[in-house]
Amino acid sequence: MPERMALATAGAAPAARGPADAPRAMKPAAGRAEESERLLDGLRAAGAAREAALTELHALLVRGAHHELRRRRELLAHVSHAELDDLATQAADDALAMVLAKLDTFRGASRFTTWAYKFVLLEAGVKARRRAWHGREVVLDDDSWRRLADTAPSVQRSVEDAELLRAIAGAIETGLTAHQREVFTALALNGVPIDVLAERLATTRGALYKTLHDARRKLRATLAGAGHDLDDRGGEQ
């Protein structure tokens, strides 16, 4: 058994695992619902039934991790297949530990497999973003937001959009704290992944998003106070 898996399942390690990303037969929806229930029952059981359920869950999590990493293949184009396999295994192992630690909190509001998948997608997504940004500098006192103040109307840019962008630059300068400005610039303007910034600042995704959210609220309030109509503005990826 790999060392990481042993760490993830200490005290509850299954005897064996299946292939990392083995092909599987598609099952009808009702069959998958039963499979989800059976898997959950197995994890709550003891002995051989739990061992089998752990093996099945780990295989499911590895499948989820590979799904997530495939979605990010452009981001990870420079990463070898061997390293991607290792990232998937690490994500599955970490997710397995999280699922087992939180198993008692599962209340059945969703399918168990959906619940379990979200843990491994989170783990694999975070690892992928951090791997992609490995070695890249994140400049925190970046003042690239000032360029918004130079925005002028053009063939491609309406007078209203140019005016709003300039007003946003003014609101960033006068309305945000230095910390809000740094976080806002990195996340909303420069596209630094929030998990990467969280790692660099030794904080959490939730804490950084709260800062971004508060900054956006301040900007909206400032802009609305200056008479800008924001009803049709904002909010989309």
Partner: protein
């Protein structure tokens, strides 16, 4: 609003959603339920208010949502109610 225009997309990214939204932690707690409702054809936004706005405002949670929905929808785990 459309995000086809780069300036509109930029403004959208800068200002974020106007509607009340859940936090990242709340989003993670509800994400599996939200996706199962979506895949089952239910009105997930009515059942779990605040999720849609957060998914529009938070790129990382947005990606997690897209990935989970794609995985569940393609995995044969479609909820049957």
């Amino acid at each position: 609003m459309t995000t086809d225009h780069p300036d509109r997309a930029l403004i959208g990214r800068l200002l974020g959603p106007a509607d009340p939204e859940v936090s990242c932690d709340e989003c993670f707690e509800l994400l599996d339920q939200y996706v199962d409702l979506e895949v089952a054809g239910e009105d997930a936004d009515a059942r779990l208010p605040g999720m849609r706005a957060h998914l529009q405002g938070c790129p990382a949670c947005h990606e997690d949502h897209e990935s989970l929905r794609e995985l569940v929808a393609g995995d044969g785990t479609r909820p049957t109610g």
